[in-house]
Amino acid sequence: MKIRPALTVLTCAVALALSGCNLVGGSPDSGDAADKVTVTVALVPDPPGASEFYRQQFDEFETANPGIAVKVLENPSDQQLNAVELMFQQDNAPDVFRAQDDGMDRMAARGWVAPLDEFVTPEFLQRFPEGSMDPATSGLHRDGKLMSLPLVWGPWSTLRVFLYNEDLLKKSGFAAPPKTWAELEQMAGKVTADGKGKYFGYAPTAAKALGVEMLADTAVPYSVPATGIDYRTGKPATSSPGLVEAVELHRRMQAAKVMMPGWESWDGSRAFKEFAAGRLAMYPTPPWHVAEVRKLAPEIKMGITGLPTPAAGRSAYLPLAKSFSPLWSMSAKSTHKVESWKVMDFLASESFHNAYYKKFGTLTALEGAWKADAEKNPDQAAILKVAEETMRRAPNPALASKGGRAMTDALAAKPDLKHTDAAFSSIIKNQPFAPVAARLDKDLQSYLDKTSTDLKAKGQEGTAKDLTFAGWDPLKDYTPGG
């Protein structure tokens, strides 16, 4: 008994001494070796396999750029923004960091994002499709300054496709995918009945019934499910019949137990796993699921088509509200801006985008990197076809005016005013959605009014007018000023 405690203490002491440096830690900038500049890149381990991929790519970059060493900092995906923010507060910020959409705006609002215009050359701009880098519509510019570089193809973020398993549908006597919501409901019901618990006809993609928003995008202008506001009028429109019917459709299917059970707890990947396993026959999805399904089940007879529309006919198209989604940003506090730009330039190079496309099947921002190959790949060719047929340019108040940005930011700050939670509740509790939608519209209107008053009091722009694009026809491409 005497020896053991002594031994324990000794081992602990030795372990502590050895890792003493671990406890106190070195200074944040452990000194650049002479002539070598270290650029820190903060990113997330997404998709799976990304860690090795990025390290490999950066190693190649380092070989081609001997004066620069790239240090990669990985954060858990849902903590990335918080982690980078804390690093800024610690005066220990990364030089390049991944911040998408709202995240980038959050960073920019704090003054932490460096504009990239000083580094951009005409040659650089030529890499991108014609007109896509126009400050008014690129999605990457704020106040006319380039703030971010993209990773994925513009339409990739807002495109939605409808996947169906040809074999399962054929088993129930259907030769083609549903074109309308009525057909969807009928087909899904029959497939689930035939499946007898082994496979199911339909699922709304993920928890909180994401499928509702996707289907509704064919019935109402995209802004209605996205924010609750109809951008044609600048007024709340959650009660729009198209959105209400989309919710009711799911509510009926839920009550009839047609949808695959357990979907209420699904994360972002469950749907494609079930589809690949042949347990789910149809569902709407963002296009990245396609590559994942193919990876898991190379032989599956997967059909890719546009989303079903209401029986009365299509009232809207999927929106193309900006050319790109922001992803890579440079820190305004970086002490190595030139070298950081070199890294970012690499991340926007054709070789990198080509490698990313080859590895993950994602259509990246530089079309030249994959266009030729994609057309030869049946899955990707199908995706491209759906994009062409079911997407149209749409207005984007956040890019159109300062006031518009202020209003959209305010709306984004109140997620409970969005239809999602209320719709989900209606679906699983089997209660009508229309009264709830009416209430949401009322709350939305008072919130809009309050926000305008507050903005005015602070001397800033922002009214419902900034959310109004009176001439917009959701069935046609939108052109600003007409």
């Binding site: 709202d102 704090r110 618990g197 928890a207 357990g262 209420e264 707890s265 700050a413």
Partner: protein, 321 residues
């Protein structure tokens, strides 16, 4: 040697004795010295953040830079009126009730069983029962979610095959069963610690007392009632407080398995606070509001505990059955 009854975990309230003499002062000096590390560490890392968060509660602040948007009691008022907060509060309490009324008694029963010297492989059973405690909550929670899945999960498959149900049970996706399921998982996860606490408590019962009782012909139940339980009761109060506190702070499990859903049916106060303080989907985190919610929650639990204090104190000091 006379037998002294060991009550290692009992708090003994002591009144100050006699006038202060220099020797005593020096003794107290040492005591205060001994207290300095704790005061520093605890003060710096628990008290200071708490007070700071009371301060933050008065602001509309997103966590970066300095709070500048003073809103007075608006956050606190909003918390107290928010239906979502109260719902989370009752859910948190549900976890505590489950821990106190299900986990504690069950653990006591098993502790008594595992304490019996005639049971072979006691240590093995104890290790097995403790195993869930050491697992990373997030991972093991997800494993269980997979096992409970209504579309092909193992549990449902067994239930369907044996004919106990005709439709798969959506344990975690249905608002009626999600919370009870999580409660069960929480009990499973924390059981090992409570078991160890009870074992420690049972082992403070002096052996000679038990032997004396056996010689006098007392059966198992009588010995339990008149010897074991009185000795163990003060410690039981401490265990109660510990279990109560641990279960109130259940966060990892809820966040990993249901994230408070479906439709906030399993939302607890820690996930509620987390959502407002750190949720990346929020454009601007409402750290001030989250702090206010935390303060309100702390005060409420304090009040509830204090309300029970008279009842508990009697049990603690007296140790009477």
């Amino acid at each position: 040697m006379t037998t002294t009854v060991e009550r290692p975990l009992e708090k003994v309230p002591v009144a100050p004795r006699g006038p202060r003499r220099p020797g005593r002062f020096r003794k107290h000096l040492w005591s205060y010295l001994f207290l300095v590390p704790m005061v520093l560490l605890f003060g710096g890392f628990t008290v200071w953040p708490m007070i700071a968060s009371w301060w933050y509660g008065f602001f509309n602040w997103d966590g970066v830079g300095n709070p500048t948007d003073w809103v007075g009691f608006a956050n606190f008022a909003e918390v107290l009126q928010a239906e979502s907060f109260w719902r989370a509060f009752w859910h948190s309490f549900a976890f505590s009730l489950a821990a106190i009324f299900i986990e504690m008694p069950l653990a006591l029963v098993l502790a008594i069983l595992l304490n019996s010297s005639w049971l072979r492989f006691r240590n093995l059973y104890r290790l097995v029962l403790f195993l869930p405690v050491v697992a990373t909550t997030a991972v093991i929670g997800i494993v269980i979610a997979i096992l409970l899945d209504p579309a092909g999960g193992l549990v449902n498959r067994i239930l369907l095959d044996t004919g106990l149900v005709d439709q798969p049970v959506n344990f975690l996706g249905s608002t009626s069963t999600a919370l009870p399921t999580l409660l069960a998982i929480d009990v499973w996860k924390g059981f090992g610690i409570t078991l160890i606490y009870w074992l420690a408590a049972l082992q403070t019962v002096p052996k000679d007392l038990q032997e004396a009782a056996a010689i006098d012909g007392a059966g198992f139940w009588r010995a339990l009632r008149f010897i074991t339980l009185p000795v163990v009761t003060p410690i039981a109060i401490v265990i109660l407080l510990l279990v109560f506190q641990r279960s109130l702070n259940t966060f990892d499990l809820v966040r990993a398995v249901t994230e408070g859903g479906p439709d906030y049916a399993t939302d607890v106060v820690p996930t509620y606070i987390y959502r407002y303080a750190f949720d990346p989907s929020l454009q601007a985190p409402r750290y001030g509001f989250a702090s206010a919610a935390g303060v309100v929650f702390g005060l409420l639990t304090l009040v509830v505990t204090l309300l029970q204090a008279p009842f508990l104190k009697r049990r603690l000091a007296g140790g009477k059955p």
